[in-house]
Symmetry: C2
Subunit: 975 residues, 2 copies
C-alpha cells in the first residue's frame, strides 16, 4: 500500500511524527525542525507525538534502533546494526519508519526525509524555501538503507571570523552563543557533517553559550566538537588570556617548561569541564596565536622532547578525567607548520612517529592553506592506529595573500586534491576552514558530500565537480526556475569560480594579467562581463524567496568576485593604455571607479538586505593587498594624464604589445601575426587617440584578399575603436613581400605588416589534428610595400612573430598506458583549463619508462636546435618528505630524462618564493631544455610520481621565450 | 678737454654721427641703428651726416681706417692696422673718433659706444631699453683699442626652427626673410659675433629674402654666412628638393655616384649665385636631411674615395666661380657623425687627414649634441692649415631626448668644455646651435663673448661663469633695479640653469629622481619653488619695459623650466605616495595638473604678450618624451586611487623609503638614521593618511634627549604632516638599546628606531675637518624598547643604516700638484655641485704617478675589506680617437691603478646606451673596487688624461651599494 504524506492528512492530524518518549533530546529537536520543513512544503505542520500512539493516519515513526518504539515496530534492522551513522527508511503498512543505527544516523534519516520532500539543506541557514506540494508518495515496498559515511569525522572550522562573522554574530545574536550555533549545527547536520571547530579569535566556545550552552547543544544534536589544531584539551586559546595572571592557579605563562603546573591544571580543568561531551580532543601544544612554542635557539630534540612530555601529560589527564580507555577517546594531533618536523625528526633525532603516546591519535595533515595537499602518509605511516585527518582551506588569513571574503574555491581542484587525500588513506577526519561560512556553502557542501559518500563522488567519478554543481543547483532551485535557468545557474557557479581559480580575487592586482599579450586581459574581462550580465538578467527575472536564494548562492559571490576581478583587469588596461598615451585609459579609469562604488554597495547591501540577515558578512578586506594582512591595502592606483591638445591617433594590434603613432622617423611598424595560423581569418586593430580631439583616419589597403571593417572614419577621444581585419584565403596569392596596410592619420602613417601562412607554407600534409605546427615567421621590417615617409624602418630590424608552439595538455597526439596506470583527463581543472593526471593517483609509477603512463605530443619545428619546453602544472607539493615530484620526458626514440618539478629551494610555507608564486598563480611552470630535430618530433611525457597534474606546454627556441603573460600563449596551430 | 654727449647738445644738432660718404653701406646702416640707441638714452637722435662737415659741436666721426674721413682726422691708427675686426675709440679735441680696422671692426666700435652709454645688446632683439641719461662724459685723454677677437668665426645656428621660430617668422614677418634677419644680424653683431648659419628646415636663406635679399643684407652688415655642416657650396638642403626632378638640369638624385653631373651643376650654380658674398663655404657631402650618404653595404674606402672626389670637385668649382686663390676662401668641412671615420680612416684605409684637398679647410669638430666635446685635435693634427672649428649645442633635436624649448644650458659646463676646445687649438670657428634663439640669449651671449675675448673669460678665469652672469644681468638691468635685485637676478639665472643642468627639462620624467631616498625629490622641489617664488616677487615688483625685459631674460625661461621640473617632481612624489597608499598622493596629483595648466598658459601668453612679439616661441614639444621626437609625448601619468574609508595612518621617515602603518603582525619598523651623523640634530617624520578620514596619533617617547614637534594631533586626509624630531645631544646618554619612539594610531603602533652616533662612537680624535667617517650602524630590529604588539619584529632582521661614505670631490683632504699641473676647483660645475679638474686642461699627464696631479681623500672605515668607490664624473667623451680617459687611483702607499672611465662599448652617438645615459643624467658613474684597511685610509686620485672632471665619491662595502637615487647620497660626516 502506497504511503502518502499530504497537506490534508497533516491538517487532519495525520502524518504525525512519533518518537519514543525516552529517545535522545537531540533527536526530538531535529524531529521538531523537520516538522517545520513539512510545514514549508505542505503548509501544515505535523504533530510531534511520543510513545505508542494509535489513531494516527500514516504516522512517521522515528528513532534509534534500540528505542523501544522502533523495536516494537518489528522491522528488520539487521542492516543497520553495529554501523556508524546509518539509517533505514521503510514503509510498513500505513506507516513510514525512520530507524537510525545511532543518534546521528537517526538525525540524518530525518533530514533525508526532508530532502526527499524537496527541502534544501539551506532551508534554515540561507532561508531557501522548498517548492510547496500537496502530497508526497512512496510505494508500499519502499525501503532504503544509507551507507556508512566514508570519512569518520567530517566538518568545518569557522575561522578568521573578524570582521565578518564576528560582527554578524554580535549584531544578530549578541555574541558567539548558542543562538548562532543552533543554526550552524543544523547546517552542518543537514550537510551530513558531524564535526566542527568553533570560532576562536576572541571567542570562547565553552563560555559563550552563555556558559556551557554551546557545548551542551552540540552534544545534544550529535555534533562532535574539536578545537582548532593548536588548542589542546578542550580549552580555547582565548581562555588562557583571561585566566592567566599573577596568583592565577594557571600561572602566567603559556609555557610548559616554566609553568608546567599551571598549564597542566589549565588543561585538566578543561577536560573536566568539557570531557563529558562528544569531542575530538586536540593534543600537543603550540605557541600562542598560531606560532611555534619554543624560541629559535631551541634544537629539534628540545622541541621533540618537550612535545612528547606534553602528550604524555595530556594522555594521563584524559585517562583521569575523560575515559580510562584512551582508545575510546577520539584524539587528534595536527602535523601543522613547525609540528611537522617534530613528527618526522631528522637523521640524527628520532621524531614522534610511532611514539606510544600517539597510538590511537588521529594525525592531522593539512593542505598548504591554498588548497594543495602539503604531504600524504607514506606506505609505512598508513598503518598508524588512529589514522589520518586532513585540514583543508576555503579561507585563509596569512601569507602570501589572505582570502576571506566570498568564495573563490573551484570544485574540480578540491575534488582532485581531496580524492588524492582519501586514496592515500586520509579517511578519519576531514575538516575545512570555511571562514565566515557565508558564501562558502557551495564548496563546503561538496566537501562534506565527498566525505560522506566517497564511493559516489570520489576518484572514480571524473565528472564529480560538474555533476555536483548541477545537483547543488537542483537541490536549491528545482521547481522554482526553468530547466534552462537551472542550467544557467550551474554555468554561473562554475564560471565565476573558474575565474577565481585562475587568480583568487584577493590576490588580484594590476600586474597579474599582461595588458595586451595574447589578449588575455580583454578576454578575461569579457568573460567576467558576460557572466555578470547573464547573472544580472536571471536575478532581475526572479522574485521573492527564489530571488533571495539566488542572490545568496549565486549572484552575490559571483558579482562581488567578478566586480573586483573586473576592476583589476580594467586597471591593468588603464595602465597599459596610459603607457601608450591613449586617452582610452582615462575612460577605463572611470570604469574602475564604478567597480569600487559597486563594491561598496555590496557591503552596505549586506547590512540591510532581508532585515540585515547577513549584517557584516561583506566586511572582510579583499582589495589591494600589499602584504598578507590589511596593512597597506589599497584600492587600484589609476593612471591618468592630461591628453595632448592635438589630433593624434594611436594604432595597436590587439593581442600584442605593438602600438604606433606612425610619425616620421620613429619607424615603429606593428605586426599583426594572427594570420600566421592558417585557421585564423580574423584579427583586430585597436584605434584610440592621444589627444583630447577626435582623430580622423583612412586606411590604405593594397591587398585584394584583406578587408578592413571600416576603412576610414573618426576615432573619438576616450574611446577605443576596433577594426576587424579579415583575410579571404581563397583570394590570397603568395607574394614576395609581406602584405601591409597603412593607417593614415593627421600626423602619421602607421604601417601594419600582416604576414600570412597558408597550410602549404607550413608543409602540412594530411589532416589528422595531431601535429602541432610552428607557425612562426621572420618579418623583415625594412621591406616596404607601402611607401610612406617613415624614413628608417630598420629600427626593429627583423622581427620574429609567433615563434613558439603552445599546446593544451589534453590535446595529446597519443596516449600509452602502462600496466600500472594511465593518464586521465580532468575537465575544467583550474585556471580555465583541463588537465591530465595519471591514475591511480596514489601510485609511484617507478622511475623507468616501462611502468610509467605516457602522453605523446607531436610537434613540427623549423630547425634543429635547443628548445625550451615550458610545462604549466598544478603547484602540487611533494607527496612525501623528499622535496620531489618527478616526471619523465623524452624526444622521439631518445632516453627518458627524469625531471624534478620541485625547485631545490622550494618549501611549503611563509615567505618561500617558489611556493608563494605557485599558490598565487595557481600554477607552476617547469622549464626543460630539449634538443629537437628539424621537422617532426615526438615529445613524450611520463608520469613517475604522484601529484603531477599537467595543463599546458609551450615550446620556444631556447633563450627566446614568448612575450610575458599570466596564462601563457593560447594554443597554436594543430592539424 | 672732456668730451661730452648730452641731450641738450644733440637737440641742438651736436654729437652728430659723421661718416665718410664713401664708406660701406653696412657701416651707415649700423650708424643709423646706433643713432636710435642715442635716442633711447638721451631722448634725442643725433644727426647722421656724411663728409667733411663743420660747425657740429662734439661730433662723432666713424669709419674704417682707410676711409678718407678718418685719414683726414690724422689720428694714429698704427695700433689697429692690419688687424682683424678691431677698432679704436679716441677723444680728439671736441670730437670722438671711432676708427675700425675693417668693416666689422668699425661696426663693433659703433656698438661699443652704445654699450658705453648703457645700451644692452638686446635693445633691438628683446626690446631691452637703456636707462635714460642727460649726458655722457669721456676724459679728453680717452683712447681705447680693442683686442683682435680670439676666435676667427664666431656665430650661431638657427635650427630645429619648427614649430617655434618658424611660426614666429611667418606670423610676425611673413617668412624667413630679410625683415627677420635684419634683427637676427643686429643681435649677432651686438654680441660681437660675425658668423651665422641660417634656419634650414623648409627655409632657403638665399631665396627667402625675398630673392637674395637675405644674403645681400648679411654681406652688407658684415655677417659671414655659412650653411649647416651638411649643406655644401652655399646651397641649402631644401633647395634641391624644389629643383630636382625628371628633366631637371640638376637631375633627380642626391647622389654623387649616379648623378655627378646634376649635383656638380647644382653646386656650381650655388657658388655662382652666392659666392660673391662673404661666406664660409661648407664642403663635403652627406645624405639628405642629416643622414649618411652611402648605404650600409659600402666600405670605408668606398666612402672615403667618394668624399675625396666630392671635395676635389668642390675645390675646382670654388676656384672657377669664387676665387682662384683657395687660400682666400674660408672653407669648412664638418667632421660630424659618419664623416668622422672618413677623416681618420682605420688601420687598413687611409682617411682624409692630411689630404691635399683639405689644405686650408677648417675642420669642424663638434660636441656630442649635449654639450660635451666629442673629440679634440691630436698634437699631430693641430698643425693642420685651415685650423679647427667647433659646432656646439644649446638646442638639439635627436636621440636620446630632444631639447628645443627654453634654455637649459648652464654656463659653467659651457665654460669648461669650450675653454678645453680653445686650449686644444680649436680657434678658427665656433658655432652654436641656438634653436629658436629666443631664451638662449643668456648662454649665447656668454659663448660669443668667450670666443671674442678668451684672454679675459677663458681658461685662466675660474670665476668666469659666475662673473659673466653678474655682468650679463648688469648690462640689462643696471640702473633699473636695486643692487640687491640685480644680485637676485644673477641668482635666479644661475639657479634655474643649475636645476636644468642636473636634468634637462625635456629629459625629465617621473622616474628620474628617487621619490624618497636622500630626500632628493623634496629638496629639488623646494629649490624650484623657492626660485619661482623669488622670481615671481621680483616680477610683481617691476613694471613697464623693465618688467618685460625681466620676463624675457629671467622669468619666462625660469618659470617655464621650473614649472615643468616641478611638475615631474610632484609626479614622482605622487607615484611614491600612491605606492604607500597615502592620500597625499591625490593632493599631489592635483598640483601636477596646476603645473600643466600653467604650462599651457605660458604658450598662450607668448602668442599675445607685447602684441604677439614672441608669437609661437613656446610651441616646442617639451613634456613627456617617450622617444626623442614627438611621437608618444605625454603629460605626466598621475596615480590616483580611492582612499580607504577608515582611519589609517601612514608614517614614513623623510629621506628614506621606510614607511609603515604599524599594524599587528607586519613587523615593519622604520629606522630614522639621521642622528648617526653626529653633526645632525634634526630629522623629520612624515605623517599622512591612507583613508579619507582624519587620523589621530599620539607619540610615545621614552627618551629625554629626543623631542617631537607635535606629540599628538590629527592628520587630515590629502595632507602631509611633518614632525620635527630633534636630539639634544647634551642630554644624550648611551644606552644598550637603540632609542625608539612609537607613533600610536587608531589601528597601529609605528615603532621608529632612532640610532645615534656620538663623536666618540666614531672614534674621532681631533677636529681637522679632513677625515670622512663611516657613520653606519647595524640595528637589530628584534630588540625592543617600546612594547607594542607587533608580534614579530624580526622580519627585517638586522638592518644596516648609513653604511656608506659620500664625499663632495672638492672636499679633498689634501692636494699634491705635479710639475706638469694641478687640480683646480670649478665652482658650481653641474648638477648643483662643484668639480675638480686638473690644469692645464690640454695636457696628458703621463700614466705614472710622478707627473700626475693628485687629490687625497682620507676616510675611516669600520673593517678591512673590499669597498666600492663610485666616482661621479662629467660624462666627458674621450679626448682622442681611442676609447679612453684614464685616471689613477691608489690606497695608502699602494701602487696606482690606471682606470679607464670609458666603458669598452661606449661610443658617442645615437642609441649607444652608455653615451645616452651619460648625457641624460649629465654624469658618468665609474665604479672601482678598492681594498681598504680597518680604520684610516688615504684614497688618492690622479689625473692622467684630459677630460677627467670629478664631482662626487661614494664609498660602500662591495656588493652593498646605498639606496638608488639620481644624485647619489649627500655628503656624510667629515671631521
Amino acid at each position: 500500500m502506497e504511503y502518502i504524506i499530504s497537506s490534508n492528512k497533516i491538517k487532519k492530524g495525520g502524518n504525525a511524527i512519533i518518537l519514543d518518549p525516552d529517545t535522545l533530546s537531540g533527536i526530538k529537536k531535529i524531529a521538531a525542525r523537520v516538522s517545520f520543513d513539512f510545514k514549508a512544503v505542505f503548509s501544515a505542520k505535523p504533530r510531534l507525538l511520543e510513545g505508542a500512539v494509535s489513531n494516527v493516519k500514516s504516522p512517521i515513526y522515528v528513532g534509534m534502533l534500540n528505542d523501544k518504539l522502533i523495536q516494537d515496530l518489528s522491522i528488520d534492522t539487521s542492516d543497520i546494526q553495529n554501523k556508524r551513522e546509518v539509517y533505514k527508511i521503510i514503509v510498513k503498512n500505513d506507516a513510514l519508519i525512520i530507524a537510525g543505527s545511532d543518534k546521528r544516523g537517526t538525525i540524518y534519516g530525518l533530514f533525508k526525509l526532508s530532502e526527499m520532500l524537496g527541502v534544501s539543506p539551506f532551508i534554515d541557514w540561507l532561508d531557501v524555501k522548498p517548492v510547496p506540494q500537496k502530497e508526497f508518495r512512496l510505494p508500499g515496498s519502499y525501503s532504503y538503507v544509507s551507507k556508512e559515511p566514508s570519512v569518520r569525522f567530517r566538518g568545518f572550522f569557522i575561522n578568521d571570523e573578524w570582521p565578518a562573522f564576528g560582527n554578524f554574530c554580535n549584531k544578530r545574536f549578541g555574541g558567539f552563543n548558542a543562538k548562532v550555533y543552533e543554526h550552524v549545527f543544523e547546517l552542518l547536520l543537514r550537510l551530513k557533517g558531524n564535526y566542527m571547530w568553533p570560532a576562536m579569535w576572541s571567542a570562547i566556545f565553552p563560555n559563550d553559550g552563555p556558559g556551557l550552552e554551546n557545548a551542551i547543544l552540540a552534544d545534544e544534536l550529535g555534533v562532535v566538537m574539536g578545537m582548532s589544531h593548536h588548542e589542546p584539551c578542550l580549552r580555547q586559546g582565548e581562555e588562557y588570556k583571561y585566566l592567566r595572571g599573577k596568583g592565577s592557579i594557571y600561572g602566567d605563562a603559556w609555557n610548559f617548561l616554566t609553568n608546567e603546573k599551571g598549564i597542566t591544571r589549565f588543561w585538566e580543568d578543561g577536560l573536566k569541564r568539557s570531557g563529558r561531551f562528544e569531542n575530538v580532543i586536540t593534543g600537543g601544544m603550540r605557541g600562542e596565536a598560531d606560532t611555534a612554542i619554543m624560541g629559535k635557539e631551541a634544537t629539534l630534540k628540545d622541541n621533540i622532547d618537550l612535545l612528547r612530555k606534553v602528550l604524555k601529560t595530556q594522555n594521563r589527564l584524559i585517562k583521569e578525567n575523560v575515559n580510562e580507555n584512551l582508545d575510546e577517546v577520539p584524539r587528534m594531533l595536527a602535523l601543522y607548520k613547525e609540528v611537522e618536523p617534530y613528527f618526522y625528526g631528522d637523521d640524527k633525532t628520532k621524531g614522534l612517529m610511532d611514539d606510544p603516546e600517539l597510538e590511537g591519535v588521529t594525525l592531522m595533515l593539512c593542505d598548504d592553506n591554498f588548497g594543495n595537499l602539503r604531504t600524504v602518509p607514506s606506505a609505512h605511516m598508513r598503518s598508524h592506529k588512529g589514522g589520518y585527518g586532513m585540514y583543508y582551506h576555503f579561507d585563509y588569513h596569512g601569507l602570501p595573500i589572505s582570502f576571506e571574503w566570498f568564495n573563490t574555491s573551484h570544485l574540480s581542484k578540491v575534488w582532485e586534491q581531496m580524492t588524492t587525500a582519501y586514496d592515500f588513506g586520509i579517511r578519519d577526519l576531514w575538516i575545512v576552514n570555511v571562514g565566515d561560512i557565508f558564501s562558502n556553502e557551495y564548496p563546503l557542501s561538496f566537501f562534506l558530500d565527498l566525505a560522506y559518500d566517497f564511493d559516489y563522488w570520489g576518484s572514480s567519478n571524473f565528472k564529480a565537480a560538474r555533476e555536483y554543481t548541477d545537483s547543488f543547483v537542483k537541490r536549491n532551485f528545482e521547481g522554482r526556475m526553468t530547466q534552462s535557468d537551472i542550467k544557467k545557474c550551474s554555468e554561473l557557479l562554475e564560471g565565476y569560480t573558474r575565474i577565481t581559480s585562475a587568480r583568487r580575487t584577493e590576490a588580484m592586482n594590476d600586474r597579474v594579467y599582461a595588458p595586451f599579450s595574447y589578449n588575455e586581459t580583454f578576454d578575461k574581462l569579457k568573460q567576467c562581463e558576460k557572466l555578470m550580465d547573464s547573472a544580472k538578467k536571471l536575478l532581475d527575472k526572479l522574485s521573492g524567496n527564489t530571488r533571495f536564494a539566488f542572490y545568496e548562492l549565486v549572484w552575490l559571490p559571483l558579482s562581488a568576485n567578478l566586480n573586483v576581478q573586473r576592476m583589476w583587469l580594467l586597471t591593468t588596461l588603464n595602465h597599459g593604455f596610459a603607457k601608450e598615451g591613449s586617452t582610452y585609459a582615462i575612460a577605463l579609469g572611470k570604469k574602475v571607479n564604478e567597480c569600487i562604488d559597486y563594491d561598496r554597495e555590496i557591503v552596505k547591501e549586506l547590512h540591510t538586505i532581508e532585515d540585515g540577515k547577513w549584517y557584516g558578512m561583506g566586511l572582510s578586506e579583499h582589495i589591494g593587498f600589499n602584504a598578507w594582512c590589511e596593512e597597506g591595502c589599497q584600492y587600484p592606483v589609476i593612471h591618468t594624464f592630461e591628453p595632448a591638445n592635438k589630433e593624434r591617433l594611436i594604432v595597436s594590434v590587439k593581442g600584442s604589445n605593438y602600438y604606433s603613432e606612425g610619425m616620421f622617423w620613429t619607424g615603429h611598424v606593428p605586426v599583426m601575426d594572427s594570420f600566421l595560423n592558417p585557421e585564423v581569418d580574423e584579427a583586430e586593430l585597436l584605434l584610440s587617440t592621444a589627444g583630447s580631439v577626435a582623430a580622423k583616419y583612412n586606411i590604405e589597403n593594397p591587398n585584394s584578399f584583406i578587408s578592413v571593417s571600416e576603412e576610414s572614419g573618426i576615432v573619438r577621444p576616450y574611446t577605443l575603436k576596433t577594426l576587424k581585419i579579415k583575410i579571404d584565403r581563397s583570394q590570397y596569392r603568395k607574394a614576395k613581400k609581406v602584405p601591409e596596410i597603412c593607417v593614415h592619420s593627421a600626423d602619421g602613417n602607421i604601417v601594419v605588416k600582416i604576414p600570412v601562412n597558408t597550410i602549404s607554407d607550413l608543409g602540412v600534409e594530411k589532416k589528422k589534428r595531431g601535429i602541432f605546427y610552428w607557425t612562426g615567421k621572420t618579418v623583415d621590417m625594412n621591406e616596404k610595400v607601402i611607401d610612406v615617409p617613415l624614413h628608417q624602418r630598420t629600427w626593429p630590424g627583423k622581427t620574429e612573430c609567433m615563434d613558439y608552439i603552445s599546446i593544451d595538455a589534453v590535446n595529446f597526439t597519443s596516449k600509452t598506458d602502462s600496466s600500472k596506470g594511465a593518464f586521465r583527463v580532468i575537465e575544467d581543472y583550474s585556471r580555465g583549463m583541463d588537465a591530465v593526471k595519471a591514475y591511480p593517483q596514489n601510485v609511484i609509477f617507478s622511475r623507468s619508462k616501462k611502468d610509467a603512463p605516457m602522453l605523446t605530443y607531436t610537434v613540427r619545428v623549423p630547425e634543429e636546435g635547443d628548445y625550451e619546453v615550458l610545462l604549466y602544472t598544478n603547484p602540487s607539493n611533494p607527496y612525501s618528505r623528499d622535496n620531489e615530484i618527478f616526471f619523465g620526458i623524452s624526444v622521439n626514440d631518445g632516453g627518458m630524462r627524469k625531471i624534478n618539478m620541485i625547485h631545490p629551494y622550494f618549501s611549503v610555507g611563509d615567505g618561500n618564493p617558489y611556493w608563494s608564486m605557485g599558490v598565487l598563480e595557481n600554477t607552476r611552470k617547469v622549464s626543460v631544455n630539449l634538443k629537437l630535430n628539424e621537422g617532426i618530433n615526438d615529445i613524450n611525457i611520463y608520469a613517475l610520481d604522484p601529484n603531477f597534474v599537467l595543463q599546458k606546454i609551450v615550446i620556444s627556441a631556447w633563450g627566446n621565450p614568448p612575450a610575458e603573460s599570466y596564462l601563457g600563449p593560447k594554443e597554436t596551430f594543430r592539424y
